[in-house]
Amino acid sequence: MKKFVNEVENILTESLTGFGKAHSDIIDVRLSPDFVFRKNKSQNDKVALISGGGSGHEPLHGGFVGYGMLDAACPGQVFSAPTPDQMEAAANEVHKNKGILFIVKNYSGDIMNFEMGADMIEHENQTIIVNDDVAVEDSTFTTGRRGVAGTMIVEKTVGSLAETGASLEDCKIFGDHVNKMTASMGVAFTSCTVPAAGKPTFELSNDEMEFGVGIHGEPGRRREKIKSANQLTDEILETILEDLKPDNNQEVLLHVNGFGGTPLMELYLLFECGQKLLEKKNIKVSRSLVGNYTTSLEMAGGSFTVTKLDADIAKHWDSAVHTPALRWKM
């Protein structure tokens, strides 16, 4: 394993501490229990947004704490859900008299730990469960679809709405709506190495890829020979559009997300493939985001996320945001 590391068991603490120092103008980091929170708290009452999940997906979620997005984020061990006392401590730190809205990716561990955290706090609270990954079959009696790169789109848009002073109920409804309008799917070219394990989670030979992969280096829909970017784009977007069923001339946000080990050059190439294909299908890409936002340590590969835009989603996507990983208009 070649990683920047001193002691494996200190990776998280050292990384979090560095993160706090590097962005000390906007965020603060509290340790034991660990959470990241906004430094300059809003003067007005607002719904407090708290997300969290396993580490290894940076900048998700800590990188999205700040004006216009999250109020706090709770990082767990690498790829492991955070513990309920982290959510409790974060909620007590950032609540602003209008309740707490938890944004949780749909994994059993995250759901259970956030539920236990919610049981421990006295503030009114609601939870949005993000499940944008169309690589996984959805069904009412299974865990269902995973939450992946679409999560940050929910965090951005609901964060913007919360900033206007909207109620907990309205934020929850809007978040569920954005989640429903969003679909993602990805491909991995390599595995990734969880530091504590010291070796890759799975093996892929040089000419193989994992199609429909998740964000933990866990296996996907199927393993197959690599294909051209256009062919991959075709297969992924076909699956996404089947799920979203966009109207003719539908405006969308197209997000190409890198998993951590793929250069931006390739991600922009993928964006070009996606944009062209959507244009051919009379779908208008009016908003875009390309980069490593929801990563899987050093895994090579990437995902497409499409969000169908209506006036509200577009407005709350465009609004000002100032976080370590996402910043515009301020």
Partner: protein
């Protein structure tokens, strides 16, 4: 039941899990994401550190504190579920009952709490495929006086439950995202749970 026995059991669980570390890690990498073994080992370390502090405390207090410690240090599904198990067990402690009767009632309650927390049941390729049958068998055996017989019996139930996860298509937990592809693989949570139960049972066998 006393503090010494409880911590002795945890110690034996740790030895067994450590002996099977690579196997559990591999199972998890095949159908999960490889974090299970590290979470379990961290949790065992953390609760063994409480030995001095809790050893002489009342049994229900020990179970509750063990649960709290796991809840705040482990994370992931296993942290939430094992914490729920231990805290659930602490609620049913009744010093009027003999040890086996008491343990069976406590364990049944703990496993019921886990079912609720995980919204899962037998047949979904999780640790509950081991723990639910074990909890039911313990209730059936609670008046038995031959502890070795009980231990052998429970060992077999746990093993059958663990092996049953091999052919299940998961509907809950991380493996559910794999659909058919997880078939043929034993669930890592079921394996670690079975090993833990075996480590406890073996204390009563050949003595």
């Amino acid at each position: 039941m006393n503090g010494d026995q409880i911590f002795n059991s945890i110690n034996n669980i740790q030895i067994s899990i450590k002996n099977h570390k690579d196997e559990i890690e591999k199972l998890d990498q095949e159908i999960g994401d490889g974090d299970h073994i590290f979470n379990i080992l961290r949790g065992l370390d953390e609760i063994l550190n409480l030995k001095e502090e809790l050893m002489d405390k009342p049994i229900d207090h020990i179970f509750k504190q063990l649960g709290m410690k796991i809840m705040t240090t482990v994370g992931g599904s296993s942290g939430a579920l094992f914490a729920t198990l231990l805290m659930g067990m602490s609620k049913k402690y009744n010093s009027d009952l003999n040890a086996l009767h008491n343990l069976s009632e406590m364990f049944f309650e703990g496993v019921q709490s886990m079912k609720k927390r995980g919204k899962a049941d037998v047949g979904e390729k999780t640790m509950l495929d081991v723990l639910i049958p074990v909890s039911k068998s313990l209730i059936e055996l609670q008046n038995e006086t031959d502890f070795e017989k009980v231990a052998n019996n429970i060992n077999n139930v746990a093993k059958d439950g663990m092996l049953s996860t091999k052919d299940i298509i998961a509907t809950k937990g991380r493996a559910s995202f794999l659909g058919e592809r997880a078939k043929g693989h034993i669930d890592p949570g079921a394996r670690s749970s079975q090993l833990a139960i075996e480590a406890i049972c073996n204390q009563f066998i050949n003595k």
